[in-house]
Structure formats: C-alpha cells, structure tokens
C-alpha cells in the first residue's frame, strides 16, 4: 500500500478493464457520466450565468416574472453602479479594498517567507510544533477578538483606517501562508542548495538563483489566495471602518435592504466586485486546494 503511493496517477478512468464484459457498454456508461457531469456543472453555474445576463438587462427587464431571457442588452446597470445615476461612487471602496488586500498580502509575504525558510530549508528544532502553532491560531474565531480590537482602534484613533485592516488581514492570512510556503520551499531539492554552497555561493545568491526559481509559482499562488481572503472579508471591515475606509464588501451591504428596481445594478455591482477574486482564483486554480486545506492536500 505504502509502496504504491509513488505510482503516477496516469492509468485511471478511461481505459476499459481487461476482464470487463463489454468495452462498448463501458464506453457508453462513460459518455453518459460525462454528460451528467456537464449537466451538473451547468445547473450549478446557472445562478451565476443568470447574474451575468441580468447585469446587462435594463432594470425593467430584470424584474419580470416569467424571466425575460431574450431582452435587449444594455450597460445601464454598470453605469448606474459606477455612480451614473447619482448614487455613491464605488471607486473609493474599491480603492480601499485594493489597498487593504495588496498591502496585507505584501506584509504576509515579508513575514511568511523567512518563517517558512526557518521551517523547511534550514529548520529550527521542533519545527513541526512551530508549524502547528501557526495553524492553531487560525482556528481562533475572528469574532472572539473583535471587541478588544475595536476598543484598541477607538482609543488610538485607528477606527475607519485602512491600515488597521492591513494589519488584521495580515494576521488572518499569515498562518495559511506559512503553511503553504513551508510546503513549497520543502520541494526545493537539498542537494541543489548544497551544490551551490560548495561552489561558493552565498546565501542571497542561493535564495535568488536556486530557491526562488523552484518555489516562485507556489509563492505566487499563496499571494493570490491571501489576496482573495482579504478582499472577501466583511466582519472586521464592517465593524472597524465607516465612511472613509469602507471596503468593497461593505459597499455591497448597502444593497441588502434596497427597494424598487435595482436588480441589474446589484448584479453589476456583485460581478464587478467579485471580478478580482474570480481572476485571482482562476489564476491560482491548481494551488487553490492546497491553500484552502492549509497545505494538507496537494
């Protein structure tokens, strides 16, 4: 069993088993199951497809029953969302989200990379214990620390300040990032590093010439996943920001109780605000599982 884990997962699924009754029947079953997978995917993505379509409809076409699928397309929903109809402009909120996400991701990288190095390439003693300490902090529910953080922010004048979110999002993502990067740095072959050292390469050279090329895709994926989590966060942003530092998800909460015709606008807003996450998520698709499972699943 344990010897088998090294086998490449190549021969699976498609080919017919040697002793199977009828390969033709197996092929037909396979086609049907493939079809079923397609149907499931389409049903699953239908709400999102409907959201995209609705965002391009006029408000009156968006609010019909039965739904008007073939209604003419317009950009009014988007124009409305970006403040064309006199509503509040989403640009400050988008800029705040971008700032909070990008800067917290940078902070995470600066803190997590050296830590991951000390847990993989040149490990400290009891490095697994340290690794699990990082993970355990992720298990503390955010809401449990909310009040002291709020009081601290209030007393230091940090309320409604994007930099406070940068600090909090850094701490929120740091454990995952350390776990992910540890596993990526551990993939760098030790022999390669030793060979470079024997050739007289100093640490900076080893890091930039040997470690970085191997670990770069993983580091990039880690950064994208941190970006996603920061961009999505609502609870802290909702409690700790107000007018100035409001982020995009907080802006979206303005639609919770809207009345009247606003479906196209909601759809346009939801899509535009989700766009960075969709882009980052699809870019990091292959490493997404690893990040979300805290590095436990490759």
């Amino acid at each position: 069993m344990s010897a088998a884990t090294a086998a490449p997962p190549a021969a699976r699924g498609a080919q017919a088993p040697p002793g199977a009754p009828s390969p033709r029947r197996a092929r037909r079953v396979n086609t049907l199951l493939g079809l079923l997978a397609w149907v499931c995917a389409l049903v699953f993505v239908l709400p999102m497809a409907w959201m995209v379509l609705t965002s391009f409809h006029s408000e009156s076409d968006a609010a019909t029953n039965p739904p008007s699928v073939g209604a003419s397309l317009t950009l009014d929903g988007y124009r409305e969302f970006f403040g064309g109809g006199g509503g509040p402009s989403p640009w400050p909120a988008l800029a705040n989200s971008l700032m909070a996400s990008v800067f917290s991701t940078l902070c995470v990288l600066v803190l997590a990379l050296p830590a991951a190095y000390a847990l993989s390439i040149r490990p400290v003693r009891k490095w697994t214990d340290v690794l699990f300490f990082f993970l355990s902090t992720k298990m503390l529910p955010l809401v449990a620390g909310l009040l002291p953080i709020y009081l601290f922010a209030k007393n230091t004048g940090m309320l409604d300040n994007v930099w406070l979110l940068v600090i909090l999002y850094t701490s929120m993502n740091l454990p995952i990032a350390v776990w992910m990067m540890q596993s990526f740095l551990a993939e760098v072959p030790v022999a390669l590093i030793e060979a470079a050292q024997i050739d007289g390469a100093r640490l900076p050279t080893v890091l930039t010439r040997v470690v970085a090329p191997v670990a770069a895709p993983g580091i990039a994926a880690t950064a994208l996943i941190c970006f996603i989590f920061s961009w999505n966060e609502l609870l802290f942003a909702r409690v700790l920001t107000g007018v100035v530092a409001q982020t995009a998800p907080v802006f979206l909460t303005g639609f919770i109780t809207s009345q009247g015709l606003f479906l196209a606008k909601v759809c346009a807003a939801s899509l535009v605000i989700s766009l960075p996450v969709l882009a980052a998520g699809f870019a990091a698709q292959d490493k997404l599982v690893q990040g979300l499972s805290l590095g436990a699943v490759k």
């Binding site: 298990m139 009081l151 939801s270």
Partner: protein, 318 residues
C-alpha cells in the same frame, strides 16, 4: 495533541543533520536559525493572542458601553446570563444546525461531483472551472444574488422558473420568509460544494492506481472498488473537508448578515455576538459569548489539527 514530532526519521524536508559540522552548534547559532521565524511569530501572537486574552478579561466584567461608569467586576455572571439567555441558546442551536447541514450536504454533493470529474471526458477542464466559479464570488455578493435575484418572491429566478413550468396557477413561495434558515443554508451549500469537490477530487487523484488495477483484474466490480478501496482512502479527505468546512461555517457572518440580517431565527453565534457588542453595547456579555465560541471551536480545532498532522506526517515520510 502536540505530538506530531515523533521525529520522522530522516525527513526530506529537514536537512538539519546535513549542515556542515565545521562550525560550533552554539547558542548563537541556534538563534541565527531561529531569527527568520521570530517576526512572524511575534506579530501573530500580538495580533491574535493578545486580543483574545483581553476578551477573556472583559468577559468577567459587567460592562455596557452606554454606561461606562457602571463597569464592575462580575465574575461568572456574564457566563450565567449567556447560558441562561434563550436568545443566545437559540443562536448556539442555530449555529450547530447551520454548520451541520451545510457541511454534510455540500460534502455529499462535492463527493458526487468529484466522482463524476474523476474520469476523462470531453471538456473536463471546463466543467471543473465552471464548478469552482460559485466559490470565487465575494461571499456578500453571492448572498445578495440569492437574496434578491433568486429568492425574491415576485421576480426572482426561482419563482420565474416555476411560472414557466407550473402551468396555470404556478406556486410562488416566499422562499426566505417560509424557510429562512433553509435559504441561508442553500446559499452557503452552493458556495461550499466546490470547496469540498476540490479537496475530494485531490483525494481521488492520489489513490494508488495499481491497487485499483489489481482489484479490477481480480474481478472486483465498480461498487466493490468504491466501497473497499476508494472510500477508505477518501476517509481522511472527507474528514478534512468536513472539519475545515466546519471551521469556516461556524464563523460565518456574511450570509446570515446579508440574507436575513439575523432575523426569523437565523442568528448564529457570530451574528449574535456582533449584535450584542455593536448594537447592544454589552461588552461583557459579548465577550463571554466569544469565549464560549472559542471553547466550542477548540474542540473542532483539535480534530482538524489531528487530521492535518496525520496527512502531514505521511507527506514528510513519503
């Protein structure tokens, strides 16, 4: 719990013994090795552990922000009140119900989808991408989509579809009003099924191919292979999905806040704490509830750490 250090004999990831032995392994040297770790460690302790310690302290005080002068030490009074308060007890129940239903249903759906995707068929990559998409919506956006665009009783898509297929007098239920918690659950299941699918698909693809091949040659049927080979192999991935899902869903705030604003009996613990503190200004009470949530999540967390550490040790040994 803290025994994942059963010293994996010579882990490929830990070349410590391979370090040149020429330099003395003194205390200075140990600190040089530790130094890169310290900034992250200190930062994390300050930002995550200190606030929680403060919460613990506040939880023993009778403290309403509207009457700051009346702040007194109350001992365990807040805990008594939290445990005795019907609304808070309800929110504990709601949290458990919400978490269990969402995690179980999305785990089963995720398993079915993963099994469907674990075979070659035309457009497999595209199907996978489509299935991941719901997970990549901003949670508030996904909740708004369900609340306004799908569940709306007058012009939501669900009732629109019912009008299409329902004939003369199609049923037009008010989804959120008639099943508020169900509405929140459906929205969350839709978002979390892709997560489960991704984890289980990774599990399926790490199955030892030759063991399955051998079983097939020995004449095992598809069901037997699934039952006796695939499922045991998937067990830990199922556990991992369930536990990580629980960690995230127990903490869920966005969906409850957006879809029902905690009304109609859908207030879960994070929402109730938010409300107690943010709208009720009951700092002591909110903190006590927060401490209880932490104790609850510690139970889940211990299990998560155990599963992750067993997967991790296997990895290091391989």
């Amino acid at each position: 719990m803290t025994t994942p250090t059963v010293a994996p004999a010579e882990p490929s990831a830990a070349p410590s013994s391979a370090a040149p032995a020429s330099r003395p392994p003194g205390k200075v040297r140990a600190w040089v090795t530790r130094a890169p770790l310290l900034p992250a460690l200190i930062f994390l302790i300050v930002v995550t552990q200190l606030p929680f310690a403060a919460t613990l302290v506040v939880s023993f005080f009778d403290w309403n922000a509207l009457y700051p002068e009346a702040r007194t030490f109350g001992g365990l009074a807040n805990y008594q009140e939290v445990l005795g308060d019907a609304q808070l007890r309800d929110s504990v129940l709601t949290t458990i119900l919400l978490t269990v239903v969402v995690v179980l249903v999305s785990l089963v759906l995720g398993l079915l989808l993963a099994l469907l995707l674990d075979r070659r068929f035309p457009g497999r990559g595209l199907v996978r991408t489509l299935l991941i998409a719901p997970f990549l919506l901003v949670p508030v956006a996904a909740a708004l989509l369900w609340k306004h665009v799908l569940f709306n009783p007058e012009y939501g898509l669900l009732n629109g579809l019912l009008t299409w297929v329902g004939g003369d007098k199609p049923p037009q239920p008010d989804w959120i009003a008639s099943m508020p918690l169900g509405a929140v659950e459906i929205a969350l299941i839709w978002q979390w099924t892709p997560f489960m699918m991704l984890i289980l698909l990774a599990g399926l693809q790490s199955r030892p191919a030759d063991a399955i091949e051998a079983a097939r040659i020995d004449g095992a049927g598809a069901w037997q292979i699934f039952r006796y080979l695939t499922l045991p192999h998937l067990r830990r991935y199922l556990e991992l999905g369930a536990l990580l899902g629980s960690i995230y869903i127990v903490q869920n705030f966005d969906a409850v806040f957006t879809i029902t604003s905690g009304g109609l009996g859908t207030a879960n613990l994070p929402y109730t704490i938010y409300q107690t503190f943010y709208q009720g200004h009951e700092y002591g009470l909110a903190s006590a509830a927060g401490v209880l949530v932490v104790i609850g999540s510690l139970v889940i967390a211990t299990l998560v750490l155990r599963v992750v550490s067993s997967l991790f040790r296997e990895e290091v040994r391989a």
